[in-house]
């Protein structure tokens, strides 16, 4: 018989291997399940997981889809490492976009290089401010940030609805609930003429590098990890848990807000009620797929981007319903989270315990 044995040290090999095992298991299970209910399982799996990677024209799509996930997940991972459970990134993402759009609407008849940076700054502040409330309640009153940040997400989304249906409605938009389009000075430029890839994509990767450096090589990063792992030891070492809570939430909120602004000023070019598509929630999953490390997050965001883009390919080529894409994503997450166990445990043959006579 096989049994689970706890490893003395988390396995480095498994840390990197387990996501691949999970992807493999997802493909296998998906193939069997969708084969069993009458689809071409092999073609479906190929379309979802392989086609987006081998068709160069899909790469831009992958980058655009992954960028906001990377940015949000980076901020969240800092918090998760410090045991700060900000799950309201979706709200911070929306508030960042709202704050940045506020600047855009104020400057809609102006031009200048400074407008976009001002919008980005407003985005960061908007997201960070929305995360500051959970931070304040956590530090001052020990209110669970899981609950407050989640609740504030719904408030932010309703606030967005209110703005685009009311005061911010495009005056020339036939009463459709959406803001006016951003002008050229307010739009995130593409990395190259005619490319879909906007400036936010390379910036997301750059931010991942910076986050990796900060977390791995600086005292601040060390403080976050210590507070998360051993709060008591951290107190003795002179690290202030409250400051780490503040820093983690503000960083998470700021990054989510910036991601929101990039999405608004990039692919959307305006705010509409359809703006919140759940990146803030998906990023939580991405953070865990990436095992809370910046390089892992880039990988995790790409994997999810592949399933979105591949899901559409599977729809148009294999006629797989869009619900099946959701199932594939859920399966992938189940397996990825489940295979995490391989990092801490290993499978071994059960050794028969020596029986003592009764």
């Amino acid at each position: 018989m096989l049994e689970w044995r706890r490893r003395r040290e988390p396995s480095k090999a498994m840390l990197y291997l387990s996501p691949l095992i999970a992807v493999g298991l997802t493909m296998l299970t998906g193939m069997l399940v969708f084969g069993a209910i009458g689809y071409d399982g092999l073609r479906a799996v190929t379309a979802i997981f392989i086609t987006p990677l081998v068709e160069p024209q899909r790469w831009a799509d992958l980058g655009v889809k992954a960028a906001p996930l990377i940015m949000i997940a980076l901020g969240l991972a800092i918090g998760f490492r410090a045991n700060v459970w900000n799950i309201g990134a979706e709200g911070q993402y929306v508030m960042g976009a709202i704050a940045g759009t506020g600047v855009a609407l104020l400057t809609h008849d102006m031009t200048g290089w400074w407008i976009l940076p001002a919008m980005a700054l407003a985005g960061i502040i908007g997201g960070a401010a929305w995360a500051a409330l959970p931070a304040l309640l956590k530090v001052r009153l020990q209110v669970s940030e899981i609950l407050t940040s989640l609740m504030l997400t719904y408030v932010a989304v309703q606030f967005l609805y209110y703005l685009v249906r009311g005061p911010w409605k495009d005056p020339d938009g036939f009463n459709f609930p959406q803001t006016r389009m951003f002008s050229a000075s307010q739009t995130l430029p593409a990395v190259a003429e005619g490319s879909l890839v906007h400036l936010g994509v390379p910036l997301a990767v750059l931010l991942a590098l910076i986050a990796w450096f900060v977390m791995a090589k600086t005292v601040a990063g060390y403080a976050v990890r210590v507070v998360g792992r051993a709060p008591a030891a951290a107190r003795h070492g002179g690290f202030d848990a409250n400051r780490v809570t503040w820093a983690a939430l503000l960083a998470g909120g700021g990054l989510a807000g910036l991601a929101g602004l990039f999405e608004a000023a990039g692919p959307f070019g305006q705010l509409t009620p359809q703006f919140p598509v759940g990146y803030g929630f998906t990023a939580i999953i991405v953070a865990f797929l990436g095992r809370l490390s910046p390089p892992g997050i880039v990988f995790g965001a790409l994997v999810l981007a592949v399933t979105y883009v591949g899901g559409e390919i599977a729809q148009s080529t294999v006629r797989l319903p869009s619900a099946a894409t959701g199932m594939f994503q859920a399966l992938l997450l189940f397996f990825l989270l489940a295979t995490d166990v391989l990092v801490r445990y290993r499978l071994a043959w059960k050794t028969r315990p020596a029986r003592s006579a009764p």
């Binding site: 009153l141 669970s144 989640l150 719904y154 408030v155 619900a323 166990v341």
Partner: protein
């Protein structure tokens, strides 16, 4: 406003409150054991589709309700297996469960779109159930009464029984409970299963009673409101009942006011109220805790054994 309208409003609000009350009551028990399952919406959808599929195929609404309960439990067991069995993160897993529920219910339900069944009717004979004002008391369907009975049962269970005490101990301090010899994971699994059962039942209330049909995302986000409600109620079943009916009342009165030509508040402001109120309640509770009040289960969302 005539008495007849008031009676009708109450009937509508009770029906609107019931599925949220059920799902929230299940989540309350789950959370009391220290498990945070954010997948309520996904479990509700699993229940809604399973309930409709079985009721439509067999022609029996009770069988549908049973299937919905089991489907909710099944979904909750995926969650339990991965979080309690393998120690995965509960927040991430709960979100994954919601994605799963949306996808699975849509796939299963594809063959049932556009069909309808005879909805779950009042529990008592029509002579009483249709009475102009007596129906306030006897005009509801079985699930409404069941949800009220469950509130009482859960309240008594948590406060008056030994099993309830153990469940709370597991949620407050898993290590101590384990040290005394209680099987923390088994108890948490049972509490998660109960949460799934009631979420499934709450979901089926949509597809079998409120709007007897299946359509994608039928519950339209009520699972998230249920989650907020648990916190709003400070993990107390009695307050949950008040909270759910309050929610139903606000939603119903808003529509009544609009129908009467009064619009006094932006719909978006009204929609964010439950969530803002929850934050206010959390804050008040924390202020009260300094003078001996109580708060969330101490081990909520924390894995056992600690990694």
């Amino acid at each position: 406003m005539t008495a007849a309208i008031l009676v009708s409003i109450f009937m509508t609000l009770a029906a609107a409150a019931t599925p949220i009350l059920l799902a929230a009551l299940g989540e309350l028990v789950t959370e009391k054991a220290g498990v945070l399952n954010l997948g309520v919406e996904g479990m509700m959808l699993c229940g809604a589709v399973a309930g409709f599929a079985v009721a439509y195929s067999t022609g029996s609404v009770p069988l549908g309700l049973l299937a919905a309960t089991l489907a909710g439990v099944a979904a909750a067991m995926i969650f339990a297996l991965l979080t309690l069995g393998l120690g995965s993160n509960q927040v991430a897993m709960g979100l994954a469960l919601t994605i799963f529920g949306i996808g699975a219910s849509s796939l299963i339900g594809a063959g049932f779109v556009g069909r309808t069944i005879t909805r779950l009717g009042p529990l008592f004979p029509a002579d009483y159930a249709a009475h102009p004002w007596l129906r306030l008391v006897v005009g509801h369907d079985a699930i409404v009464y069941l949800s009220l009975a469950l509130v009482l049962a859960v309240s008594l269970f948590l406060r008056r029984t030994k099993a309830g005490l153990i469940l709370r101990a597991v949620g407050e301090n898993a290590d101590s409970a384990h040290a005394i010899g209680y099987r923390v994971l088994a108890i948490r699994t049972a509490a998660t299963a109960f949460g799934g059962a009631l979420a499934g039942l709450g979901g089926a209330y949509f597809s079998l009673a409120l709007t007897p049909m299946w359509a994608d995302r039928l519950t339209a986000g009520r699972g998230w409101i249920a989650l907020a409600l648990v916190v709003f109620a400070a993990w107390k079943p009695g307050r949950l009942l008040i909270g759910a009916y309050l929610f139903g009342a606000v939603a119903t009165f808003e529509l009544q006011a609009k129908a009467a030509g009064l619009s006094f508040i932006a719909p978006e402001v009204l929609a964010m109220t439950p969530y803002l109120a929850t934050i206010v309640v959390l804050t008040m509770m924390s202020l009260g805790r300094r003078t001996g009040g109580r708060d969330a289960p101490a081990c909520l969302g924390k894995p056992f054994p600690a990694p």
